[in-house]
Structure formats: structure tokens, C-alpha cells
């Protein structure tokens, strides 16, 4: 060690005169806020976990429908409402709930971010983890920064794209993002971890541990986890993105909320009319900066500057910690010295956002896929609307994928093009569409999947009213076709009656020259509706010898194959 360098321990971070938080006793708005955050986060997680089919064996309740109103958080989300209104010119069903939040925000400001939003609460939680004493670093990172305007540009870009017919808000909307990430990545990963550990317990060969392990497994299956293990296409990326967002709080608290969140930006814009706000008594302020230290939105709560209504999440920390009562939230705060209602919006930034939104749609659609050629693997859930309309509605929230009892629905990677990223597609090798199941159609908040009854889905006379695709046989891989081996598994599982897979008896030659009669499968394109159970059950494990593609889907007037034979009455 160099003799000149001072060897004393690094100086304790100490910069403020008041190092400890001195919250005021009694029922404060801050405590109420904390309570609200806890309740709504738990409610959100409960509904997420309960977006599942567990079965009910006490009686036989028919028809089978979701148990809870699992889409309510999505319906309360004003960004979902606004974007789909721009893209479809109509406010779909339960999205009317969002108007409630809009009206309250117009009066109060961004309370949603500080009191309701599950991602806001998680960011809040992760941002609150601090090491050591408060230091200038922790104060500085809560000052209002120019880059906080980025979220408004993101919002404008997304809204312009939505107005042109491509709803992409779900990529960044905090409700969709959180739902999708937890439901399709974190929970399945946690399930995998827990059950791997339980397997290790079974492997220990200590019998008295098996019963508690069994009870734990049963209990978790019946509550937190799905009954069967689930796998999601590119799930690791969903989880990775979400964990990154949570870890960003270590750099700057609520970095996502402050800089990126398009919902926060929308609510911030609405807050300009708000009657409620922070009044400051600048003369009382002694610049202790405790308010800044605890500020969630980087909304300039400190004395000497104006408070930013558009950035504030109404967490009420500042009012609560101010030792000199220099800050007070109230209706009709003094505007001239205390409040800046409008966010800082650079014209250049706004134009960039608008331009990006304008450029997105034509760029996405110069790739063939949506209009020129349909993607073969873009197999949409039953009840889905036609593709252009689908892209104008789907919020990529993942609710349909979470509730699918066979794990058939997955977030698309690029199977549905750039625009379809994380929209639902059916991957039949992982799961298939149960012919009498309509669960996914009853959880879509925006009508990308329209609600169906079992009768509407099944149709009459063995011809499905709703077709999602069509099965094709790969004769080079099929056992009776290519390997002179008996099979019929696809036909056995085909759920339509009469079967959409027909068998023909043929005598074929085996490698040793002997003859054998096998039954070779054919697909009846009139009857096949693309459920994919044949692909799912095909014993050729890696790539199935029978597979479905999207052609023939009833929702599309163009992605068709055969002329109708005859009208079915």
C-alpha cells in the first residue's frame, strides 16, 4: 500500500442534518398509500395466480368458465383503453372501467402509479433497498432529470402506432408487462425450482420426508402453481427483461416509472388538470433534502423550485418526512410558486416519438406476413378476430396463455411478425386446443379473442364452426407411411366426430421384404379444425409427423385452402 494514501476507512456517508426518517405518528396519507399498495399488489398477484383451470370435482359445474374477474387490472388501465380506442374507434366492454381511473387522475394526479400499479409497487420496493446511511448520492438520483421526458415520447410513438392500427403498448404497459412476465416466466421458473428441490427430497430415500413433501407439492399445485408444469416459448427472455427492470431500481429508484412507462406518461399528461397538489412554503425550507431522499417520482419536492405534477406518484413521503412542515398536499395548491402542471416536453423529442410511431407500421408491414403471406405458425386461439383487427386489439398481456389448461398458447417470438411479438400463438408440440374448452376466449380484456360458448365453438354435425388451422401429414416421418409400422395415434385422438383423420388400409413392404398391412392416415380438410392434438400426441417426438399450420382459419377471409363443399344446415 502506498504510504501517502490515507489508510483511514472510507468516510461514512453523511450529508444531511437529519439522517433518520422522522415519520409523523398517526394515520398519514403515506401509511394509507402503503396499505393500498400492499392490498392491490396482493390482489393483482392473487388474480394472476387464479388465472388457471384447476377443475372442480365436488359437482360438475358446466359450463367451465374463469372463477374470478381476472382481467380487471387490464380493464382499469387507461392506456389499454386509449390505445384500443385509437385503433378500433370503440371502447371494448370492461375497458370502460379505465374511465374511472382517468376521471380520478384528472382530479388527483398520478395516484395510480403510487397507490395501485403492481409494477410501481415492485419498483418502489426494490428502489427502497439501500445500503448504509443516506448519502448525497441517494439524494442526487432523485432530482428531476431531463431524460424523464423520454416516457412521453415513448407514449406518443405508441399512440401514433395504435392510431395506425398496430397496438404495441403491451410491450411496455406496466400491467401487461408484469402479468406476462410473472405468469409466463417467473412463476413457472419458481415452480420448476421448487419441484426440482422436492425431487431431490424424494431422491434422499428418507421415507418420513416423503409425506410432508407430498403434501407441500399438493398444496402448491392447488394454490400458487399450475396443476401441471408449464413451459413458455422464449420465456427466459420475458423473465430476464422483468428482472432487469427490477434491478434497474438499484441505479435509480423507479427508473422504469420515471423514464419509460407509457402509462405513467399518459397519467402524467392527465395530471395537468389536477386540482390536488403539493403546496410549498419555501421560506420554511432549510434544504435538508429529506423530501428528495424519499421522493419516488423525482418530482422536485424540495424548496426553491416548483413541484412537477406530471412526475409525482403521490406517495406522500415528502410531506411525511419534512421536519419543518414546509410541504403540504392539498386541493387547489398555490400555483404561482409551488406547482408546475405541465411536463417538460421538448418539441424535438416529441417529433421523434411521433415519427417513430409513424415509421413503425409501414416498416413492420413491408415484411410479408400480415398482408402478403400469412405466417404458417401464427395459429391464433379460437375466437380470435381477423389478423389486422387482432393486431389492433391484442395487448400481449398473456392472460389467455396463463389460463390455457393444456399450455397450448405461447407468447410469439417472430411467428406472427414484428408486430405480433408476445401475442398468443398455439404451439401444438407443447399443448393442443381442447375442443370443448373456451376459457381463453373469456379472459381477453380487449376483444382480440371474442368470447365463445362451447356450442359456438363446436358448431354442428362434426364440422367445427371455428377453425384455427389445418393438419398436414409429413409422409417422410409418419410411421405407417415411411416405416411400414402400425400407429394410428393421431386418428385415435382426433376429437371431431366423424373423425378428421381417415385411415386407409394398405399392404406395404418391410425392410426384410415381408408384407404388412398398416393403416395410413389422411387429413379430411373439411372436418379438421386445427386443434393440434394429433401433432401433440404424435409419437415422433422431436418433429411431429403431423403438424398444423394456420391455413383454413375461419377468422381469415384469405388464409383459406378449399372451397366450401356444401352449406351445412
Amino acid at each position: 500500500m502506498h504510504p501517502q494514501t490515507p489508510t483511514a476507512p472510507i468516510e461514512k456517508k453523511r450529508a444531511t442534518t437529519h439522517t433518520s426518517r422522522t415519520t409523523k405518528p398517526g394515520l398519514s396519507l403515506r401509511r394509507l398509500r402503503l396499505f393500498s399498495q400492499t392490498v392491490f399488489l396482493l390482489l393483482f398477484l392473487f388474480l394472476l395466480v387464479e388465472t388457471v383451470y384447476r377443475g372442480s370435482f365436488r359437482a360438475v359445474p358446466e359450463p367451465i368458465r374463469p372463477t374470478y374477474p381476472v382481467k380487471i387490472f387490464l380493464e382499469l388501465d387507461p392506456l389499454n383503453a386509449l390505445a384500443t380506442v385509437l385503433s378500433t374507434h370503440s371502447l371494448y366492454r370492461g375497458l370502460l372501467w379505465a374511465v374511472l381511473i382517468i376521471m380520478a387522475t384528472l382530479l388527483l394526479g398520478r395516484f395510480f402509479c403510487g397507490w395501485l400499479c403492481p409494477l410501481g409497487t415492485l419498483n418502489h420496493l426494490f428502489g427502497a433497498i439501500r445500503r448504509g446511511e443516506p448519502s448525497p448520492k441517494y439524494i442526487e438520483r432523485n432530482r428531476t432529470r431531463p431524460w424523464q421526458s423520454l416516457k412521453y415520447y415513448v407514449l406518443f410513438g405508441l399512440l401514433v402506432a395504435a392510431a395506425l392500427g398496430s397496438v404495441q403498448i403491451g410491450l411496455l404497459d406496466p400491467i401487461s408487462l408484469t402479468l406476462r412476465s410473472i405468469a409466463l416466466a417467473l412463476l413457472p421458473a419458481l415452480r420448476y425450482l421448487v419441484f426440482t428441490l422436492l425431487d431431490a427430497v424424494y431422491a434422499l430415500r428418507i421415507p418420513f420426508l416423503w409425506l410432508p413433501a407430498d403434501y407441500l407439492a399438493q398444496g402448491l399445485r392447488a394454490t400458487l402453481f399450475t396443476p401441471n408444469p408449464t413451459y413458455y416459448h422464449v420465456g427466459w427472455l420475458l423473465g430476464g427483461i422483468f428482472l432487469t427492470i427490477l434491478l434497474l431500481n438499484r441505479l435509480i429508484p423507479r427508473l422504469f416509472c420515471r423514464a419509460i412507462c407509457p402509462l405513467g406518461a399518459l397519467l402524467g399528461l392527465l395530471a395537468r388538470f389536477s386540482l390536488f397538489g403539493l403546496e410549498k412554503y419555501h421560506e420554511k425550507c432549510d434544504d435538508c433534502n429529506l423530501c428528495l431522499l424519499h421522493c419516488q417520482g423525482a418530482a422536485s419536492p424540495q424548496g426553491g423550485v416548483k413541484w412537477r405534477a406530471a412526475e409525482c406518484t403521490l406517495c406522500f413521503n415528502c410531506q411525511d418526512v419534512c421536519p419543518r412542515d414546509a410541504l403540504r398536499f392539498r386541493f387547489f395548491p398555490e400555483l404561482r410558486t409551488s406547482v408546475a402542471l405541465q411536463p417538460d416536453l421538448g418539441r424535438r423529442g416529441l417529433l421523434t416519438g411521433v415519427f417513430a410511431g409513424l415509421a413503425f407500421l409501414p416498416l413492420a408491414r413491408v415484411s410479408p406476413g400480415v398482408e402478403k403471406t400469412p405466417h404458417p405458425q401464427r395459429i391464433r386461439p379460437p375466437g380470435s378476430v381477423e389478423e389486422a383487427e387482432f393486431l389492433a386489439r391484442c395487448l400481449k398481456c398473456g392472460t389467455c396463455m396463463k389460463i390455457c389448461p393444456t399450455n397450448a398458447l405461447h407468447p410469439a417470438w417472430f411467428e406472427a411478425g414484428l408486430e405480433g411479438l408476445w401475442s398468443p400463438v398455439l404451439i401444438a408440440r407443447v399443448g393442443y386446443c381442447v375442443d370443448s374448452c373456451v376459457l381463453c376466449t373469456h379472459v381477453c380484456p380487449s376483444g382480440a379473442i371474442q368470447p365463445l360458448t362451447e356450442e359456438e365453438k363446436l358448431g354442428k354435425a362434426g364440422k367445427h364452426a371455428v377453425k384455427i388451422g389445418l393438419a398436414f401429414i409429413d409422409r417422410g416421418r409418419c410411421l405407417p407411411w415411411a416405416m411400414a409400422t402400425e400407429c394410428i395415434v393421431c386418428e385415435e385422438h382426433c376429437p371431431t366426430s366423424p373423425k378428421a383423420i381417415r385411415l386407409e388400409d394398405v399392404v406395404v413392404t418391410r425392410p426384410d421384404g415381408s408384407k404388412i398391412k398398416v393403416r395410413q392416415p389422411y387429413v379430411d380438410a373439411e372436418r379438421c379444425w386445427g386443434c393440434g392434438i394429433c401433432e401433440y400426441k404424435c409419437p415422433v417426438r422431436d418433429r411431429a409427423a403431423i403438424y398444423i399450420t394456420s391455413v383454413g382459419e375461419t377468422r381469415s377471409p384469405t388464409n383459406r385452402l378449399l372451397l366450401p363443399e356444401r352449406k351445412v344446415n
Binding site: 377443475g55 399438493q218 370443448s436 402400425e486 366423424p498
Partner: protein, 325 residues
Amino acid sequence: MADESSSSRREFLLRTAKAGLAVAASGALGLFLHNRKPRQPRAALTPTRRDLSVPTPAGTPEFVLVRGPSPRAITQAAIRELGGMQAFISRQDIVLIKPNIAWDRVPQQAANTNPEVIQTLVEMCYEAGAKEVRVTDVSCDEARRCFQRSGIAAAAQAAGARVILPEEHRFREVALGGEVLDHWPVFVPFLEADKIINVPIAKQHSLTRVTLALKNWYGILGGQRHRLHQRIHESLADLATFMKPTLTLLDAVRILIRNGPQGGSLDDVRQLNLVAASVDQVAVDAFGVTLFGYQPADFRYLVLAESRGLGTTRFEDLKLKQVNL
């Protein structure tokens, strides 16, 4: 100065010793792990069989056929004619009833065993003194939907049975010792029960033409059981070799004559109002094929099973009793 040099010497020795230990430890660990078998080799499983048959009471019929409008009444009559449930079930037995709960279908579609038949059997087992009656199957469709929509879970639970869903970790690798089936994962409840009653429903099937009691044993297996179709007759005979039930009761209240085994349309269903019961599972299947107008001798798996001494295909040669209610 002397202090300083001694302390630096000590530090030198200490650090050298630590580094040396670390080097030695990594070398030793490397040698220890080198070419080590990652897992203990699987203990060679000895082939097992599940023979749960009990001797039939002398003088009682060996094969019973009951017709009647009430599924409950014909089930009761069939068991009564065979000597009563207490002839098969001992006190404190854990009894497993194996219906066909393979498909996400309602009872009218005749893809799963009749729930009323199952409920009646559960009640009779308890009356005979069973400690616990369990009802389970390894479904083809999503199990929860099958158990719910078939009505079997509700009916069995109403009679006090424990309904067990096929959970993914409750399968055990078993040496079945068969011609095709050597090692296969078997659902554990089938290995634990003291008595097993097989209750298939009669349905058309495009590979075996009819699916009955022996085909119902597919529902004890996990794993890639669809590969078994490649040698269906041998695998069915293997299953019957492995699993000899206490009783077999064929549900032909409704049978599926087309588009089996999962059907879907009510046009595929025939109402026969009939059950057949015997301790001889091969005889039950031999009778079952005649319901579809076939001859047992044309079924290779039945001939195979008979040649292995698992039962007789000439059910009519057994001591037969027919009842019409």
C-alpha cells in the same frame, strides 16, 4: 525491524501454505471427480407382477351378464351374482377402481366409464369393509377436464372415494417383464392398492377394433405410451400379464360404435343397458367384442393372452349367468 521481518516471514509462510493447500485441493478434487459415474447405476429392477385375484367362491357363476335400465341396479346385481363384494374385498383393504377417464367428454357421449356404475362400485366396496376406495386413471386429454366433465370424480367423491389425479411425479419405473413392455413408468396408486377393479367401457377403436378391459390398462402407464401402438397386441398381452385385477366389470350401458375411442357425437352412441363381470379379464374382452359383431378368435391380443394362460376367450364355456332386470 526484527519484528517486521519475522511478521513478513510468517506472512510468507502462511500465504505459501494457503496457496499450496488450494493447489492440492483442486488437484485432489479433480482426481476424485475424474471419470466418476455421475449417478448410481439404476438398481436392476426385478420384473414384478400385480396379481390381485382372489379365489372365487365355489358354486358361484364365473361370468355374469346383467341387463336393465338402471346402471346402479345392474352393477349391484352383477356383483351380487358373482358372490357379493365381500367375496373379493377383505376388511381394511385399499381398493382401487380403474374406470376409463381418458377423455374430456360428458357421460352421454360414452367415451368414459358410466359415473353411476363407478359410484355404485365405490359404495359396495365400502359396504364390504374396504378401508379406502381410490378412483384414478391416467387420462389422454387434460386430466382435470376429463375427471370433471366425465362426472366420475364427482360421483366417486359422493360415495366417499378418494379421487387421485395423475400428478407428474407419482410414476415409478417398473420392470414389467413383458415382450414389448420391459421397463415402463407406472402410476404409483396401481402399485399400492390391495385390490383393483377394472371398469372399462366398450368402444370402437381403429387399431384393435374394440377397446375393452385390456386396453384400459394403458391408463396405468406414464411415459411415451403412444409408441405401444406399434405392437399393440403384444403390449396388451404384456399389460394383462403384469396386471391381474381382482374383478373386471365391463360397462356397456352405453357403447361407442364409431369414431372411438373419444367419439363426440351422440350419433356414435348405442344404449345397451348392460354390464358384464368376471374375474377373468380375457373372457370379459372376448364377450365385449361380440357386442360389436366380432369373433374373439379374430383378435390377436386375445389369442395371445389366452396362449399365455391369462384367461379364456371362450367365455360361453364358463359357468355363465344372465340376469334381466
